[in-house]
């Protein structure tokens, strides 16, 4: 997973580049929490453009980071959902809570 912080907008973007399952999610979670705590962003965006696989571990990952970012005064959005990712998020109902954003940063 790559991350980038945009100081001006207090925007923290996580670009997930690995398959998301119970194994990989442990490392992603640690890194995300560390960066959120470090930058205290107003806005956190998870970019799924490069995610070729995700199971229900992704639901817990996003809900957990949503709570953490909220607790520190920020919001959380998701971007570039692939079909597989979208199907799982829709089934879980978390998209009622977490907005999908159009992310056009490189």
């Amino acid at each position: 997973m790559e991350s980038k912080f945009y100081e001006k907008d207090k925007l923290l973007v996580f670009k997930i580049t690995e398959e998301i399952d119970d194994f990989s999610v442990q490392k992603i979670r640690r890194k995300a929490d560390y960066e959120i705590e470090r930058y205290m962003p107003k806005r956190v965006v998870f970019d799924f453009d490069n995610v070729t696989f995700m199971d229900s571990a992704g639901i817990g990952l996003i809900i957990g980071r949503y709570k953490f970012a909220n607790m520190l005064g920020g919001t959380l959005e998701v971007a570039n959902l692939t079909n597989n990712v979208k199907k799982i998020f829709e089934m879980s109902g978390i998209l009622k809570l977490i907005p999908i954003t159009e992310l056009a940063v490189s």
């Binding site: 399952d21 696989f53 199971d55 817990g60 597989n84 089934m91 879980s92």
Partner: protein
């Protein structure tokens, strides 16, 4: 007489979450003999990943054990059995409820069985407390209709 299948594979591995990708990719490679669409293959991978995660986290509670997978092909259907010899589930009906989880502290969403049920055509859970759990799921792979049309066109051309 043993029930007849067109093909069968068995896989056993240690209950480490680093084996989840290996498990789902192996089953997907086996399933690809039925010529599934990318979406069908993705559904199978997700369902396998959920079942294997359950064996590791809930069945064995991260202690060492063996996860077993048997996959069979019959005509255009894949039948997958995933089992463990772990602690078992006391009440399967409750465990299958969406959002039910015994491990919310591990950020488990409680969506595993719901995803398996939705992504596959059938799913059954057999469990005995203290002995283990077996999940059996099946999916019918759609026949590629376009190919048939092409071959008919081809027939017509060759008739001319």
């Amino acid at each position: 007489m043993k029930e007849q299948f067109d093909n069968e594979m068995k896989l056993e591995f240690i209950s480490k979450s680093s084996n989840e990708a290996f498990a789902r990719i192996s089953v997907a490679a086996f399933a690809s003999q039925l010529d599934p669409t990318i979406e069908e293959l993705s559904d199978i991978k997700t369902a396998v990943s959920e079942a294997v995660t359950n064996c590791i986290i809930h069945g064995y509670e991260n202690k060492q054990g063996i996860v077993k997978i048997i996959a069979r092909l019959k005509e255009n259907e894949i039948i997958i059995e995933i089992s463990d010899n772990g602690k078992g589930i006391e009440n399967v009906e409750i465990a299958k409820e969406p959002l039910y989880t015994t491990k919310p502290n591990l950020e488990r969403s409680g969506m595993g069985f719901t995803i398996m049920e939705n992504f596959m055509d059938s799913m059954e859970v057999e469990s005995i407390v203290g002995l283990g759990t077996k999940v059996t799921m099946s999916k019918i792979i759609s026949k590629p209709e376009e190919d048939e049309e092409i071959s008919q066109d081809f027939l017509m051309i060759t008739k001319d």
